[in-house]
């Protein structure tokens, strides 16, 4: 059985203990049935904060794709059941199909909200994890993400995406504004107010660079939340679609020159820009870096239609990667290195998402018959893909596993949300 493997896990206090590690990928993958009852709110803790915590915590676990979060409506356990193994009736949790049980207690500790999480194996009744975290009292969602991250790490031994940040564009009337937010789209801050600002990207240090039409032509600006936008590439031509190298030291972007557009690579401050493509009449756009920073994938119509190509970061060794369809665009290279996700327009003029394996060229379809699905961006750990979809009307942001399963919308309010970019590494707020 591949889905759940027993292996060694290093737990705090450097004690080696046996714990299940979820094998996230593979044909035999099966989400772990997990019961997560509502948090126990200790006296003094704010009920509204507890609700916000619960919503964020449950969303994280559900959208992660590795847990089957069980429906609370089916629970039969006593609502007043305790937090410790001795006070839990495990057979009642087994009766609703839970393999793991996670209990959280919330308490107010001065200006902080303290959350204690305990994880139990339902079959053995053993406590497998005990963590407590603090967050400012007004940030219950932050506490939820931190505890969900601890749980994710316990099962996968990988960093979760729950502490990472995203950036995206909101279209409202004629305006397109850039926002940054937590991974679930909540706690959003607008970086621009009015005008046309598109294609934002997060740098590894948490800055947001985007293409802005504030001078009636596209230029690239960079901004920190709360700071002023600084011009990064404004040399009189049309500059679009910036991408940071994984170490944050270099940028790549497209610069239009007459009837062609070339990919440029420069230092992160915009200095030393150098064209690395040279096709006299072709458009080369949408660069995305490989996780080792040695290669760049991009879109080019040099073969007659937009297709995804790969080249070395100095422009050598260009190789065409996609051959199916005649309109493939917006590539995003997985932080795991193996896949590039992209948008393809099919013969019905519908946009759908695919991945292509960088080594084998194998293309996998991720979405179908659900409106238009565009602009994929991988989570920092490469396990999830966020994208924009209009399947329910206006464009909204959705997330799914990198094989196209478990597609769920972000819990943010409705709007016209476009072109998400997921930070390359968890960045502090």
């Amino acid at each position: 059985m591949k889905a759940l493997l027993l292996s060694l896990l290093l737990v705090p206090a450097l004690v080696l203990a046996q714990a299940p590690v979820i094998e996230i990928s593979g044909a035999n993958f099966r989400p772990l049935p997990l019961a997560a009852p509502a948090p126990v709110v200790q006296e003094g803790a704010d009920k509204k904060a507890a609700q916000a915590f619960d919503a964020a915590f449950t969303y994280d676990l559900t959208a992660s794709g590795i847990f089957q979060v069980l429906d609370r409506a089916g629970f039969t356990a006593d609502a007043k059941e305790g937090m410790t193994a001795g006070s839990i009736n495990f057979s009642r949790w087994a009766d609703v199909g839970a393999e793991s049980l996670v209990k959280v207690s919330l308490a107010q500790d001065g200006g902080a909200l303290r959350g204690e999480l305990r994880l139990f194996s339902v079959a053995t009744g053993k406590e497998e994890l005990k963590v407590s975290k603090d967050a400012p009292a007004g940030e219950p969602r932050q506490l939820a993400h931190a505890l969900a991250d601890a749980l994710y790490r316990h099962f996968t031994r990988e960093a979760s995406p729950f502490l990472s940040r995203i950036t995206y564009v909101r279209k409202a009337g004629a305006n397109r504004d850039v926002y940054v937010a937590d991974w679930d789209g909540m706690g959003a801050q607008a970086l621009t107010k009015g005008g046309t600002h598109i294609l934002p990207t997060l740098s590894p240090s948490g800055q947001v660079a985007f293409t802005s039409y504030r001078k009636n032509r596209p230029d690239i600006y960079v901004q920190t939340p709360g700071g002023e936008a600084k011009a990064l590439v404004t040399d009189g031509q049309m500059a679009t679609g910036i991408a940071y190298s994984p170490d944050g030291k270099r940028i790549a972007y497209a610069l239009a020159e007459g009837e062609s557009a070339q990919i440029y690579v420069a230092a992160a401050d915009g200095s030393g820009a150098k064209a690395i493509t040279d096709t006299p009449y072709g458009l080369n756009t949408s660069p995305t870096w490989s996780p080792d920073g040695k290669r760049i994938a991009f879109v080019s119509n040099r073969g007659g239609s937009p297709q995804v190509y790969v080249m070395n970061a100095d422009g050598s060794g260009v190789k065409r990667l996609t051959f199916q369809g005649n309109y493939n665009q917006t590539p995003d290279w997985s932080p795991r290195g193996d896949l590039i996700a992209f948008t393809a327009r099919d013969e019905r003029n519908a946009f759908d998402l695919f991945t292509v394996n960088v080594d084998t060229g194998k293309v996998t379809r991720l979405t179908q018959d659900q409106g238009n699905n565009e602009e994929p961006t991988f989570s920092p750990n490469g396990r999830l893909i966020m994208f924009s979809s209009n399947r329910n009307g206006a464009a909204h942001l959705w997330v799914m596993t990198s094989d196209g399963n478990n597609q769920v919308p972000l819990p943010m309010e409705k709007g016209n949300w476009l072109t998400p970019d997921w930070g390359t590494a968890p960045a502090a707020k």
Binding site: D71, A73, D78, N89, S91, D95, V96, G97
Partner: protein, 163 residues
């Protein structure tokens, strides 16, 4: 209208008709009921099971067990559930939904109507199989009026008695 196809006017014309195959064996029974012998499942709720000579089904996996005690209280496992809530609880129960199967463990003194109500709730919740937990008939002549040995619940070597 004949097309003059027949050779030498034999009088037989070819008719092309839709060949309607009778649709038999359409399964209308949604609930499939089978018998499970009691000692395979030990539940926390104490009920006095009916005895039967019906051939038992081998139960290998743990299923969700519904119980109805002599006081007509309904349980999922050992947790009491109001009959009105039973459908919701079962519809949201990942185990019952994955198996599409539950075991029913009803006291012999519970009226038939109550058992049917529980089964109907299970059916509405999408459960298609209900295993009736019974006590295998003890001894050789347990047939008359079902009054064998009420205190036999824990004992009785059921499989041997049956075979």
């Amino acid at each position: 209208m004949g097309m003059g196809g027949g050779k030498g006017g034999g009088g037989r014309t070819t008719m092309s008709e839709i060949n309607v195959t009778p649709m038999v064996d359409v399964m209308l029974v949604l609930l499939i009921i089978f018998m499970v012998t009691a000692p395979l499942i030990q539940q926390g709720v104490k009920v006095n099971l009916p005895e039967t000579k019906a051939a038992p089904v081998e139960a290998t996996e743990k299923k969700v067990v519904l119980s109805i005690d002599a006081g007509r209280k309904v349980y999922i496992g050992d947790a009491e559930v109001a009959l009105e809530e039973l459908e919701t609880k079962l519809a949201a129960n990942a185990k019952a939904q994955a198996d599409k199967e539950v075991y029913l463990h009803a006291d012999r003194d519970v009226p038939y109507g109550v058992v049917v109500e529980v089964m109907a709730a299970a059916q509405r919740a999408g459960i298609s199989n209900v295993g009736m937990i019974t006590e295998p008939a003890t001894g050789s002549k347990a047939s008359n009026s079902g009054k064998a040995a009420p205190a036999s619940s824990g004992k009785g070597k059921p499989k041997e008695a049956k075979r």
